[in-house]
């Protein structure tokens, strides 16, 4: 016996999905699977970022000095690097969304893996270009 798996929840659809989940692995690393997951995760990351972005902008309502202090803080190289990551995620999410819209609304194209790869390269290019602009 090498592995034991018990399903304590008994019968039912959710239960058998849990019971068989551990068997599936290995094929979920395809480029298009990754494209869908990256699209979702980048969306979550951007959703987490947005409240901080609004808090930052909200400083302008408090006083010009506080906003200026925060703007000065963005000159930190680490913050600039993080901004590049943000632009990367934003572009990735935008292109991921376009991918879904293309799939769902235009005629099918078999070159989707190429498109997903190009989307990553495109997002990286935009992010690096952004970094070059702000450094």
């Amino acid at each position: 016996m090498t592995e034991r798996h018990k399903n304590p929840d008994g019968a039912g659809r959710t239960s058998f999905i849990r019971a068989t989940r551990s068997q599936t692995a290995g094929y979920q690393r395809d480029a298009l699977w990754l494209a869908a997951i990256v699209h979702r995760l980048s969306g979550v990351a951007l959703a987490v970022f947005l409240p901080f972005h609004f808090l930052f902008l909200g400083l302008a309502l408090q006083s010009e000095g506080r906003l200026q202090t925060a703007v000065n803080w963005t000159g930190n190289p680490l913050v600039k690097f993080a901004e590049m990551g943000l632009v990367f995620l934003l572009t990735l999410h935008l292109l991921g969304g376009l991918r879904v819209l293309v799939i769902e609304n235009l005629a099918w194209h078999d070159s989707q893996k190429t498109a997903a790869t190009l989307a990553v390269l495109g997002a990286a290019s935009v992010a690096l270009f952004y970094l070059a602009q702000i450094v």
């Binding site: 016996m1 034991r4 068989t20 769902e104």
Partner: protein, 238 residues
């Protein structure tokens, strides 16, 4: 060839365990050959399902080293890893016993997707003339060869995440009928595949396309259904 393979096989139903056996390795041995050898020589009560053994019936699909496959068309030498092989029942389906999955939920989704042909003419009407080169005929042709093996259903993340999702095979079937000029049930069918768990629940991971043993592309069929549903919605027909 005198070497042996360490095979771990799911024993039990919903509750069970993987158990290990040594099976002699043969030239040109398929995974189904291996399972059959085990059942005939070591574990006579091992439950599994097969029929044609040549990739026609689609009944022998199992999870082999984490990936759903037809065992009759999978050579052991192609999938064995470090001399070991892990074989389980198809995922996303209840387990009846050992390697035999209950296909009932899979076929229930076919019914929900209205996967049966609805004649629009009677026996006394003239025979329908469908041009082989027409776009609808060609769209149906691309998807028509499904043999219901359940590999796409077992591989689909959306099926795993969403209990209501109809699944790639049922939606692929609906797409072939929607493109069948003779069918008279498409209004109801389009509503069925656009409702709860319908085509919009597909996340376009395209694992179904990647793993379909018949090289079909259910993701393309589902994308076609999404377009058709959107068009019907904009026209107020949905």
């Amino acid at each position: 060839m005198n070497s042996s393979i360490k095979v771990t096989i799911w024993r039990g139903a919903q509750i069970g365990s993987y158990q290990s056996y040594d099976v002699p390795q043969r030239d040109n041995q398929t995974v189904l050959d291996l399972v059959s050898w085990l059942q005939r020589h070591v574990v006579p009560d091992l439950a599994y399902r097969f029929s044609c053994r040549v990739g026609v019936c689609g009944s022998c699909a199992m999870t082999v080293n984490g990936r759903p496959r037809w065992t009759c068309r999978t050579h052991v030498s192609k999938v064995v890893k470090d001399g070991t092989l892990k074989i389980g029942p198809l995922a996303n389906l209840p387990v009846i016993k050992d390697l035999a999955a209950d296909m009932s939920p899979f076929f229930d989704q076919w019914h929900r997707a209205k996967g049966s042909f609805v004649p629009s003419a009677g026996r006394h009407d003239p025979m329908a003339r469908v041009k082989p080169g027409s776009p609808r005929r060609q769209a149906a042709d691309e998807a028509i060869e499904c043999i219901n093996c359940g590999v796409c259903y077992a591989a689909c993340d959306s099926v795993r995440w969403n209990a209501d999702y109809l699944g790639p095979a049922a939606l692929n079937r609906a797409w072939t009928l929607i493109n069948d000029e003779r069918d008279g049930g498409n209004d109801a069918r389009l509503k069925a595949v656009s409702g709860l768990g319908g085509c919009q629940a597909c996340h376009s991971h395209q694992t179904c396309e990647q793993l379909c043993p018949k090289a079909l592309n259910p993701a393309k069929s589902i994308a076609g259904l999404k377009r058709r549903a959107l068009s019907a919605f904009l026209k107020g027909a949905l």
